[in-house]
Symmetry: C2
Subunit: 299 residues, 2 copies
């Protein structure tokens, strides 16, 4: 089965203590779509401007991503610029130019409206909601978010969360949204907002799923060196949704889907932007999944 | 098999945002010994002063801890006082009174010198070393440490680490000792100091073992509420060593030993000092181990 992914499509200028890379392909939907593409066909919904480089269209195409839903509008592509500190755990935004995103309303091509697996990657919750309104009867809807929307669009976000099967957010967002420092307390509150399944991402410490079968503590694949963590969270959820869509069902598969998501996210961190992810083979993913599963085996 | 545990025996006055508890039984050896006692017989080596309450001697005895090596000297018991911040992740020391620890030299009773499993719980590295010097041919020697010794007794610590089979420390200590932010890079440096096995403790994120069979990512048991994290690390390593001593060998058992250590540490955090740990049953431990193993199963 294919997975429909809506979110931001951007140009990212990323600075780390070791290097500076201008105008890389970025945005939540780009990371998630490429990550998902290793497991199932992907339909991308987003918007770019006239300055969007043709080589990035080719990158999407290399991963057989359906671009019918990618609008190209007059104006500039969304541009984000950020800088990481030495230990890569903190970053600060240097610049955000919304460009064509300022007036964007995602309109689903007819062929997309029947999609069964839907990932609403990070983007304004009103837009995520607008996409859902156009869907027929999706089987499994997941959404990711970011702290910005907790601050400027909380009512929209809460309205969206009610309709989700899976809500994904990171630990600081979960704490901000629930006012609970404790992870289990935060998870309990998040379920009360609607979703049957919630995943809290913990960066290099992995993630935790709360669902009908209880908790799953998903490890991160440990890396000897992190080059650029941008997009790791989007890659995680993209890989996860691609894997689930390939299986065609959720129960019994979501734990391993998280392991696959973790592994794709680990590759993502090994290069700037999507440069490393672009070159992964399915064989490399499988090898790392086996390795990670060995690292959590107790006997 | 029994496990010999040497370390500090103390009275702890602990303040959290919710409560204040003066003169609880504390010290690395106390936590580790009680934790180990659920799995194998324990021989404790330490020192207390004339003010050491009889009820704490009874607590040790309840757990069938051999106190032949516990000296009682004229003077006061080591007293530590600390305060936790709201999220329990940071604490500051309010007071340290060394008391009888100032002049303590651990002398092993003859019956202790042949012990096969030895845990050098946190204490000055010169004292840890002095204990090793009195041992005949221990099969497996583990040691824990703390940041203080990195600052004031680094040469002693490095001399000790050379002789260890297992070195246990937390992430910030590992970073300070190796000057590596990255966990895998730090582990590689720590092996070069001598030990074949190294465990880095990550607090509520669990721990990571590096050994002949590669890495093991050990989860922490997630708690809905942390009352007092004092002694959790000592309980982890105590439970681990008690479990290994019970099995009588290390390879093939150390991963599950870490799971058991994690579980005992989780109980420790649910009460002040040793109050919760004192009341655990082996049955409760087994139930939580099964639960934790379910939380890391991928299928």
């Amino acid at each position: 089965m294919s997975v429909l992914i809506v979110g931001s499509t951007a140009l990212d200028s990323i600075k780390t203590p070791h290097a500076e890379n201008p105008r890389l392909l970025g945005g939540s939907a780009s990371y998630a779509a490429v990550a998902a593409s290793f497991f199932s066909p992907v339909k991308l919904v987003g918007v770019v401007g006239e300055d969007f480089p043709q080589r990035y269209v080719q990158l999407y195409r290399r991963h057989r991503i359906d671009l019918t839903g990618l609008q190209r509008l007059p104006g500039k592509t969304f541009h984000w610029s950020g800088e990481y500190e030495a230990n890569m755990n903190r970053r600060r935004t240097l610049l955000t130019e919304l460009g064509v995103f300022e007036t964007f309303t995602p309109t689903l091509p007819a062929a997309h409206q029947g999609a069964q697996f839907v990932l609403l990657a990070n983007i304004a919750p009103s837009l995520q909601h607008h996409v859902l309104e156009q869907m027929q009867r999706p089987r499994f809807v997941a959404a990711d978010t970011m702290d910005l929307w907790l601050n400027v669009a909380l009512p929209d976000l809460l309205k969206l969360v009610k309709r989700l099967d899976l809500f994904v957010l990171n630990d600081s967002e979960a704490q901000q949204l629930t006012r609970q420092d404790n992870l289990l307390a935060a998870l309990a509150r998040l379920h009360r907002l609607g979703p049957k399944r919630v995943i809290i991402k913990l960066g290099s410490h992995g993630s935790i799923l709360s669902g009908p079968r209880g908790l799953f503590l998903c490890p991160a694949y440990p890396l000897p060196k992190v080059v650029d963590p941008t997009g790791a969270g989007d890659s995680f959820v993209g890989g996860l949704m691609g894997y689930l869509a390939a299986k065609g069902s959720v129960a019994g598969h979501i734990r391993r889907a998280m392991i696959y998501g973790s592994v794709v996210a680990s590759f993502c961190c090994e290069g700037f932007g999507l440069t490393r992810t672009d070159r992964i083979t399915r064989r490399q993913i499988e090898a790392r999944v086996r390795e990670l599963e060995r690292m959590i085996r107790t006997s």
